[in-house]
Each structure stands twice: as C-alpha cells, then as structure tokens.
Symmetry: D2
Subunit: 201 residues, 4 copies
C-alpha cells in the first residue's frame, strides 16, 4: 500500500489568486509523488474553518472533512506565507484545530497522529522562514507529529524586498535542494513509522 501525503496551503488568499505558497508546496508534493506517494493539497482559505480547539465546531465547519484527510495520510506538509515575520493566521487556525488531538488519546495513551510525519514549507518576500518553522515544528510535535531532519523548504527574498516566489524565472538551486531533502526525509521516516509504530507505554 502506498503512502499518502496531504499538503495544506495556508495562504490568506482564496482561489483563484496566484499563490507562491502553492508553488513551493507543489514542488514538495511533486517530489513525494515521484517516490510513489499519493498526494493531494487543500487551500484552506477556500474553506470555512471555524475558530476553536475541538474536532468539529458545528454547522458549516469545514474542518472535520480536512481533518479526516489529514488523519488518513502518513505525511502532512504545511505550507504558509510569512506576514510580519510570523506564520499566517490561517496556519495558526489549522494548528489550533489540530490541538483537539488531546481529547483523542487511544486506550493505551497514544494519539492518532503518532506515526505521522510533518514537513514545513515557507514562502515570504523578505524574512521569517526560520521562525515560522520553529512555531510550526513545536505545534506539530506537540500534537503528535514527528519532524524529520533538515530545514524546512523555504524561500525568502532580500530584506524589505517585494519579489514573490511565484515570479522567479526558475527555482533556485539551493531551494530545490531543500525541497528534495524534505521530500526524501518525510518519505523515509513516514515509511519507517508506518511499519514500526511508536510502542504503547
């Protein structure tokens, strides 16, 4: 059975606006597909995700369906733009909703997220990729994801610049290296944890 990966695009803009985050996220998902992973991606701004910290915030909440896709997958790739050097409100909303996992411990104390691997993709036009990764790694590890070795895949332009990733003529070589490393490590680690889950206490 093949591994599955879900990518979350946490841009502030709904479709069909062009999205630099989607571009870099797709590069990672394509690299996973090249290894036989089934991939899909969800642009969160196209859905009505209610604020809250439960699995289902009631009528009209789009999260239960997104959550089901995350829980069905082995790999979660979280892609976010940077605003003010920080993660977007959209990715924060998704992390808060994942916090519901603490009500979902199995009888043996393990969480349904244990055994899943999470990678991070960050795009900004000047500054903040490391900090955004820090915030997301911590939130994702807290709710039960394993974080592979190696930096997140990211691109930021020169300070106070206004260039966008989507407008680059081609993917810079160093960015592509992080894309390939992230995909290779997520794939390897997700396979290992699928075959050898964390043991019960």
């Amino acid at each position: 059975m093949s591994l599955k990966a879900v990518g979350l695009n946490c841009t502030l803009k709904a479709s069909p606006s062009p999205s630099s985050t989607q571009k870099l996220l797709d590069e990672v998902l394509d690299a996973l597909k090249g290894r036989g992973v089934e991939t899909t991606s969800i642009r969160l701004a196209d859905h009505d995700i209610k604020p809250g910290v439960t699995a289902d915030e009631g009528e009209g909440d789009a999260w239960p369906d997104i959550r089901r896709q995350i829980y069905d997958a082995h790999i979660l790739i979280v892609g976010t733009p940077i605003w003010m050097g920080q993660p977007s409100s959209v990715v924060k909303r998704a992390m808060e909703r994942l916090d519901a996992v603490f009500d979902e411990a199995q009888d043996d104390g393990r969480y349904p997220t244990y055994g899943k691997v999470a990678g991070v993709v960050v795009v900004g036009n000047e500054d903040g990729a490391h900090h955004v990764s820090a915030e997301l790694y911590q939130a994702l590890a807290d709710v039960g994801f394993t974080i592979p070795a190696g930096s997140s895949a990211y691109w930021v332009g020169e300070a106070m610049g206004s260039k966008n990733y989507i407008d680059l003529p081609k993917t810079p070589e160093k960015v592509n290296e992080t894309v390939q490393t992230l995909a290779r490590h997520c794939f390897h680690l997700a396979g290992l944890l699928d075959r050898h889950p964390y043991p019960a206490p």
Copy 2:
C-alpha cells in the same frame, strides 16, 4: 480632550461564552477608565474579519469599522489567549490587517499609528505569556505603535494545568500589579505622544 483606549479581545470563542481574556482585559481597561480614559472593547470572534492584508477586504468585512475605532484611539490594548504556547489565530488575523498601514504613509512618511501606544494582555492555563508578548510587541511596533516599559499583564497557571483565569476567586496580587503598571504606563506615554508627536523626517 480625554484619551481613548480600545481593547481587542482575541479569544477564539464568540459571545456569550465566558472569556478569561475579557476578564483580564477589562481589568486593564477599568484601570485606564480610573485615569479618565474613554474605553471600549471589541470581541473579534463576534465579527466577520476577512483574511488579508488590506484595510478593507470587501463585502461583509467587519475590519474597516474596527480599524476606524483603533485609528480614533490613543491606546490599543490587545488581549489574547494562548493556544499551544502561541498567540491565537484571531489576534494574528488582527495583526495582519494592521499591516495595511504600510500603504497609508502620510506625505511626510509618517504612519497614522505613530503616536499610538499598545499594551498586551495574555491569559493561558499553563504557559506562553512571554512568547505571545514577543510576537505582539514586534508586530505592533512594526506597524507604528510604541510599547511602554514593563511586562504585559498576564496570567498563566501551572504547567499542564487546566485552571482558568476566570475561575480564580480573586485577582492575584502580582497580576494586579502588572495590570496597574500597564495602565499607568500606557496612559502616561499616550498622553506624552499626543502632546508631542514623533517629528517628521
């Protein structure tokens, strides 16, 4: 003319759910009122604030009205709960919307926020107040607010605890000290900057 203060309650929960953040925010606003400041507060989860980084994201966007109240005030008190050790998605949304100030420079290069003072109020049941303050101070200073001396007003319970601020029988003495200091310093600094604005370049 008296000074004005606006408090933003950035809890994830809409009215009429009880809100620990509102309780601590009200304590700061009351201390300001005691100094003659006109105060009001807005619970953001009760309003439909669209994602984006412009001043007005179009039909149905509640932000333009909130923004007008912020721009009319001399003091902004931002209150947020902590989720996963980080600021809420609701406060992140507000900060992103404030980012629009960069399109609003006056002819002399000054922003309409220059001369306004911002204070931070943080409530969580275990951990994260300093980091939440760090994220908010930076975002608020970046968009033109001045940050007074002294820690934010905050309360967090013991690690991995579940006690809520709203359920405390009374305000702890040390918390009240930070409340009073925050109000005193915001009031003093906002008055100074109102009478003596930052000069043009």
Copy 3:
C-alpha cells in the same frame, strides 16, 4: 550494540550549584537507561565553550570534546532553564556551535547528524516551555536531528511564581508522563534510524 544518549544541561550555573534542569534531565536519562541506553550528561557551564560557529574555536575551547560525544551518540537530550521566557544563553551557544555541521557534509550531501534524534527538556519557574521548545526544535532540525512526536518534557510553575522544580516534593504525574513519552519515543526513533538511515540523494 546499545544506543548512546548524551544530555546537555544548559543551566547558567556551574557545579556544584543545585540545578532544576539537571533534575528533570536526569529523569529523562534514567528512563532511557531503563531501556538499555548508555547515558551521560554534560553541564555546559562547567566548561569553557568559546563563542563561534565552527567545530573548533581554538586554544582552550571545550567544545571539540563535547561535540565528539554528541557525534558518538544516537540521542541528544538538550535541557535548558527558561530566562525571560526564552532559552538560556548557554543553550544558544551550544546550538551555534552545532551550526558547524554545515561545513561537514559527506560526499553524498548527508550530514553527520542525520540519523540522530533530539529531545528537549525545559524547566522554568513560571512561563516559556513551549517557546523554548520551538526555538530548539528548529535549531536542532536545521542541523540534522530528527524530532520525535510528543511535547518536550517540561515543568513551569504558576505565573510570576518563584517555586523551583528541584524543590518539589515529588515529580508531578503529568510531568512524569512527558518524561516517559519523550524517552520512549527517542529510544524507538533512534533505533529505527540507526538500522535504517536516511538514504543518500
């Protein structure tokens, strides 16, 4: 062959001052020892670690010996106190020195840290454990460590409190749960990555 773990105690205080960080770090190392891991710990404040970002900063630098022990181990447990809601200057120094790994890529592009697992232990008397974990997870993942599922092992007291972990009569049950989970996950993941290293590009 058994796995090896190294614990770094990043308290600001040299021996023989009592150290809350050491106490919680030891609890994690003991849990690893119970699973057959060879453990050792190093109190960085007892050593003269020069500032810099290379593997060896010259005469009198204690880092090369510490670095050798980290490179020989499969598991790195980084323990730090919280000051001002942030990681200590001592743990920052250690992270900066680990940054030297970027000059040490093997011929196939892999770093000597790939395959090593890192866990985090945080102790403070009031606030900051999640943020400290965020900073360390990101730095550790960046330099090639894999981060296991589950929160770091941490303890913080009530806001603006002055109680120290070392003075608690016994380890709180919830803290012990995070200690056991951290040790179990580090052990499992380090064993997996030892038998099945990340593949070359």
Copy 4:
C-alpha cells in the same frame, strides 16, 4: 544636558574581526550623534561577561562596568547578528544580565530602567530579523525599557545566501530609512521620558 546612547555589538567575534553588526550599529549611532546625542559602543565579545542573572557575578566579571554605562545612558541600541534565525548567544547573555533589574526596584516600585528607550539593530545573511526583534523587544520591555514605534533597523540577504552587510558597496535606501527612523524615534522618545518620567504608582 545632552542625551547619551550606548550601543551593544553582540557579534560572536571579538575584535579586530570585521563586523557587519558594528557597521549597521554605527549607522544608527551616527544618526543619533547628528542629533546631539553622546554615543559610545561596546563589543561584548571583547569582554568576559559571566553567565548569570545578577548585577555582578564576581571576580573577573566585565558586566558591572557595562551595566553602569547602560544605566548612565538614556538610549540603548542593541545590535546582534542572526544565527539559525535567532538572536546570538552573546545578546542572550546581555539580556539575562539585565534581568537583575528585578532586584533593583526603587522604594516606589519603579525600576532604574524606566524612562530609558531601547532600539534594535539586526544583521544576517539571509533570514530572521523580525523574530530577533521580537525576542529582544520582549526582553527589553520586560526589564523596563520603552520601545519606540517602527521596525528595528535591519538587513538580511536572500534566502540561503552568503552575502554580508559589511560587503555591500553602499547602504540600501530602505535600510537607511529604517536607520533614520529608529534614530529619530529613539531620540524623541528618550527626550520626552527624560523630561516626563513614568509616574510612581
């Protein structure tokens, strides 16, 4: 009487290594000097600053003399390089030492830092200026400094780049704007607080 400003250069490298941080710090100090401020700067890596959180960590500790200069000044400009997207261990050490202010409250509860203004200067070759500012603003406000409106003065190059600020042929226009704004606002605010100190409780 003229205002005084102290700049702290928190590079990891001792003199006489070239320092990009010093270059940008000097630009801010020069702008202050142009407004009649007496300026000086201290390169912390040239001094033996002991770890700890007290005002004087005993024999050989260089901090008491540096602290005296900070306490004599009205404006503190903290300059730091970015390593791994985070503040340097050297600037973290300085912040920890400033934490001693909490033992120095005057009879009326005010701290000796109240009334002082702090600005931040950040230089990195690719990413992290906003986050570094966030960490420093929070630490500095916590210990009693007031933070002026406007972003810190910073420069970072393109992602995963290796260009250094000191090697730029000239200061980019936008960087110079933040330099001038930072100096103008620090000067204005420090003068105001010197003439109109925060009141006692």
